[in-house]
């Protein structure tokens, strides 16, 4: 195994693109090092990108925020601007692992790991976040939703490095929330999760809604029908019930050591409901 700290992104992409064996990009390392320890993977090349320009920065941009790929959960949580604009995304990121893991783990790492149970991903999908990718052919932007393609798999090509995630601006009366279910209060992988982002009219009527679910399908899913069930309502019981029904209908989970199909489906609906109500309250909606 080689450990390399390239001088710039171009070199980083070239290194990974040119590696014939297995390569891994190192940002926070909280997934990569676990895989190394478990001997699940033995990379020939580790490319550390933390030190590259912009990787550790959070920058205000077009009313939103661009979050560097190596920004840790702890750093994100300390950023009052992002926290005020996208509290659901920040709380999702902060749920990952322990305080120690928060000192290292990154949202982009969470995304690239490709886990359907990744905590930050449903929140980013609900936020309609966009990943900026540096590849062999230069830079491009892709919605976070389109990155995961299955458990442990992504749409990224060889040489692609996600350099940042962009959380867009949002109008007044808008907010988001993320909830996950775990058997303990900390330190577990989500059994099911839900990220919800809402935009309201001044009178509290839902104008736009995005509901994303985690750990209930091979990838994090955006449940458009669930969002649609909320639009035009003030989140009355019937609207919530319709949203929950749409959420549950989308679930296609597996039964494993962490939960059953039945349990994940039921819980995803419950979490979607609870996250929706939190987001609604945060957006200024009165119920």
């Amino acid at each position: 195994m080689r450990y390399v700290k390239p001088e710039n992104l171009k070199d980083a992409s070239a290194l990974i693109g040119g590696e014939e064996g297995i390569s891994r990009i190192l940002a926070g390392g909280t997934d990569v090092l676990v895989q190394l320890k478990a001997e699940m993977v033995e990379p020939d090349l580790i490319v550390d990108v933390k030190h590259l320009d912009g990787m550790r920065e959070i920058v205000a941009e077009d009313g939103g925020y661009r979050i560097g790929a190596a920004v840790s959960g702890a750093e994100l949580g300390e950023h009052t601007g992002v926290k005020a604009l996208w509290p659901g995304v920040v709380e999702a990121m902060e749920l990952i692992g322990s305080t120690q893991v928060q000192g290292r783990a990154t949202m982009v790492g969470n995304l690239c790991n490709g886990s359907p149970a990744a905590d930050s991903v449903p929140a980013m999908v609900a936020a309609d976040a966009v990943a900026r990718i540096h590849g062999l052919a230069g830079e491009r932007d892709i919605p976070v939703l389109d990155i995961p393609t299955g458990p442990g798999r992504t749409s990224l090509a060889k040489g692609d490095i996600i350099t940042s995630v962009f959380l867009p601006a949002r109008p007044d009366h808008a907010s988001d929330a993320y909830l996950r279910f775990i058997p303990r209060t900390e330190m577990d992988i989500a059994v099911a999760s839900a990220g919800v982002s809402l935009e309201l009219d001044a009178d509290g009527t839902c104008r736009a809604a995005r509901v994303a679910l985690g750990a209930v399908a091979p990838t994090v899913v955006l449940v458009e029908a669930a969002g649609a069930a909320l639009v035009g309502t003030k989140l009355d019981d019937a609207a919530i019930a319709a949203m929950v029904q749409a959420a549950e209908a989308t679930c296609n989970p597996i039964s494993d050591k962490r939960g059953t199909v039945e349990y994940r489906t039921k819980t995803a609906g419950v979490l979607a409901k609870r996250a929706t109500l939190i987001a609604y309250a945060r957006a200024g909606g009165q119920k």
Partner: protein, 747 residues
């Protein structure tokens, strides 16, 4: 050794919250644990483990691994000795598999190499050919006549004819006429229960550093609950003489029973002998879960009859425990403990020990009792619910007390159960209001405790300080409690005593730190050793004063004339006597060697409030209070610590911890991520109430406290959850999917 006549005396040291002597080492990172030792020229050991739950080893080809540069030794089962005793042969075959691998993670071969990377590469070059066999991991499945047989011919004469060979032994306890008893009942409840296997979950993986020469002389450093036990096992399994193997116990990072046997030490010694170099062997966390002792998993049927006013008329339990791939002796303790808290006219417990393709069970805090008492206390609680009775009053009404014929045979003498129940009844927790989706659970718990083989040497140093030498690793502050008892007895300040835990060649044999025995038995031997030293000092003072030995007594750390006829002499302090030791006969010491008995059984009562989330099945522990009889709390902080720690292990067992096997017989959650021990944020404060009902078998009245606290939480939580959720939960852990399903089926 009976309770002192003057046991109600004002203790000067006992009962104080003194500072532990190993505190600074442990808060600064200086303390040396199993994996912290190194030796010059040390090799790194690693173990190859079975990927199969059950398979015949057709061949092991180590030639390619041996040829790898940097590989210094490879050992397999054939490199170990052939102990006659099955007990040791089983440990050997668990350390390295013999003809078959018996569970996922069973060790097959081990390598010693110059570094970690080489050892890792070498493991991959070892070619093992397996013939995969059918496997069984569930206890009820394993008992069926057509179940795959884990090992042939291992059943003893008690095993019932016609059952699977996996059933290795059978036990029955009890007395009275069951049929007549049940006939008198107004309500009979019969239910079946299951508990999952749990792991002790010590944070320190097993680790050792072994050095063994071709002359059979060896040095072994390891984390263990008993260095003498390690010496015995390694001597037998490696074929060396006990005197030639010096075992030094490192600081131990938790044991809870799991470090009362050997998994890697004989392997490291064999590697060292073969390579001629010291070998360090440290388990990974995954190895700890896959191949070291979990507790048994259980399947139990309980039937209890009760009158409408709450008197139990008859009680029966059938307990089936699987203890992994070797015969185990655990169900008999569950069967004896199951109804220990009750005064019963008719009681019967039946138990079966069963083998499965799982790791060899190791002891875990009150081994065998928690799962049995979970089942019994659940049925008692349900009877109280059905009959509209107060669960605490009902337990008081049926409580075992002095003179009760116990369910396991003997008649109880002084026991603290009633006092413990009364304390719970009087505590504000018992009557605090509960909210929606909340429930309160109660459970009694019991453990036998024992004393065991113990040696203590106590040396009076020339400057008047005292050194105590003992042989039991300090798991939870025992150096402090032993020093306290020495100081108390000698009448000197605690700070003047230093207790060290020594190696196997510096003191006689000591049983393992288990059975809640150390404060009791080592304390008892320390008191005896101190009394021997006092006697010696008094004799010297008598000579100095020219009076009879009988005319000298020991008071407050000094010899003084006893009575008016002894003449007038100023008291001679311990330090003054020590200062003239050279002139009065040489060094002063006391020692005591004993196989201590009279440990005295222990009862505890736990109260627990939980809240369940009706939409997710999640359980939150709101409040938890422990009531336990400590006989005499030598160091109350560490008594409370035992009560709190055991409770939280029980909480984990009740709610989340479990060994999860796939259909392939492989363990699916061999890590702290998915084997979910409680984390700090899962828990409320654990309140403690220590009762002190002196144990008649100890001079100060001390009673072991280490084990009982893990017994009641299982039922206390299950009862609280069942009441909160409105549905009786009979399988542990009560994980959220299980609870949600039960609630939805309840309607």
């Amino acid at each position: 050794m009976p309770l002192d006549q003057n046991s109600k005396r004002d203790f000067k040291v006992i009962g104080k919250r003194v500072l532990r002597p190993d505190g600074i080492d442990k808060v600064t990172g200086k303390a040396m644990y199993g994996a912290d030792m190194t030796a010059p020229g040390m090799l790194v050991g690693r173990i190859l483990r079975s990927p199969h739950a059950h398979a015949r080893i057709v061949s092991i080809d180590t030639s390619a691994a041996e040829a790898l540069k940097g590989v210094k030794a490879i050992v397999i089962n054939a490199d170990l000795a052939n102990p006659e005793d099955e007990f040791f042969a089983d440990i050997r075959d668990n350390c390295l598999a013999r003809e078959k691998v018996l569970y996922d993670g069973h060790a097959v071969a081990a390598v010693a190499a110059v570094d970690k990377a080489t050892a890792k590469s070498a493991l991959r070059l070892i070619k093992v050919k397996y013939e995969v066999l059918p496997h069984v991991t569930d206890v009820d499945e394993a008992m069926k006549a057509d179940a795959p047989v884990v090992q042939e011919g291992r059943a003893d004469e008690s095993a019932p004819a016609g059952s699977s060979q996996n059933v290795t032994s059978h036990f029955e306890f009890g007395h009275g006429d069951l049929d007549a008893g049940f006939a008198k009942a107004d309500k009979i409840i019969e239910r079946s229960f299951k508990t999952a296997a749990t792991h002790q979950g010590y944070i320190e993986p097993h680790a050792c550093l072994a050095s063994l020469g071709s002359d059979g002389r060896g040095e072994l450093w390891c984390c263990t609950q008993g260095q003498y036990n390690v010496r015995t096992i390694c001597s037998e399994v490696c074929g060396i003489e006990a005197s030639q193997l010096r075992v030094t116990a490192s600081e131990i990072g938790g044991g809870f029973g799991g470090k009362t046997t050997c998994f890697i030490e004989p392997v490291a010694l064999a590697l060292s002998r073969k390579s001629g170099k010291p070998v360090k062997l440290v388990m990974t966390r995954e190895e700890v879960f896959r191949a070291t002792g979990p507790t048994v998993s259980s399947s139990t049927d309980v039937k209890i009859g009760m009158t409408s006013n709450g008197r139990i008329t008859a009680a029966q339990a059938k307990l089936r425990y699987q203890g992994g791939a070797f015969p185990c002796g655990t169900v008999e303790f569950g069967a004896q403990a199951a109804f220990a808290a009750y005064d019963l006219e008719a009681v019967q417990t039946l138990g079966w020990n069963v083998m499965t393709n799982r790791p060899k069970e190791a002891a875990y805090r009150a081994p065998g009792a928690p799962m049995a008492i979970f089942a019994v206390e659940s049925v008692v609680d349900e009877l109280c619910q059905e009959l509209g009775l107060d669960p605490l009053e009902t337990r008081l009404k049926n409580a075992a007390r002095k003179g009760t014929l116990s369910s396991y045979g003997p008649t109880f003498n002084d026991i603290g159960l009633v006092a413990t129940l009364e304390a719970a009844k009087a505590h504000p927790h018992y009557t605090a209001p509960l909210g929606e989706n909340q429930g309160r659970g109660l459970s009694c718990g019991f453990w036998f405790n024992f004393g065991g083989n113990t040696c203590v040497s106590l040396n009076i140093n020339p400057d008047g300080t005292v050194g105590v030498v003992e042989g039991n690793p300090d798991i939870g502050g025992s150096r402090a409690s032993i020093s306290m008892m020495a100081a108390e007895e000698l009448g000197i300040p605690y700070e003047k005593v230093r207790t060290v835990i020594t190696d196997t060649n510096s003191l006689g044999f000591n049983d393992v730190t288990d059975g809640s025995r150390v404060t009791f038995a080592v304390g008892l031997a320390t008191i005896k050793a101190a009394r021997a030293a006092i006697d010696n000092m008094c004799e010297r003072v008598a000579n100095i004063w020219g009076i009879d030995r009988d005319a000298v007594e020991w008071v407050d750390g000094a010899a003084q004339p006893a009575g008016p006829n002894a003449g007038s002499h100023p008291p001679m302090s311990l330090a003054e006597i020590a200062a003239v030791a050279d002139q009065t006969g040489g060094p002063i010491a006391g020692h005591h060697e004993v196989n201590a008995d009279g440990a005295g059984v222990s009862f505890g009562v736990h109260l627990c409030d939980t809240e369940v989330d009706p939409e997710t099945g999640a359980t939150k522990i709101l409040r938890y209070t422990v009531f336990q009889d400590a006989g005499r709390a030598v160091h109350p902080d560490y008594v409370e610590g035992q009560m709190q720690g055991g409770s939280v292990q029980g909480i984990g067992w009740a709610l989340n911890e479990e060994y999860i096997y796939g259909d392939d017989g492989r363990l699916q959650n061999a890590g702290f991520l998915d084997y979910r021990v409680p984390v700090a944020s899962d828990l409320p404060p654990i309140e403690t109430v220590i009762l002190e009902i002196p144990n008649p078998g100890h001079p100060y009245g001390v009673r072991g406290v280490g084990e009982t606290s893990i017994v009641p939480p299982l039922a206390a939580i299950a009862n609280a959850v069942s009441r909160a959720a409105g549905v009786r939960m009979t399988e542990l852990p009560i994980s959220p999917p299980k609870l949600l399903k039960a609630m939805s089926e309840r309607g």
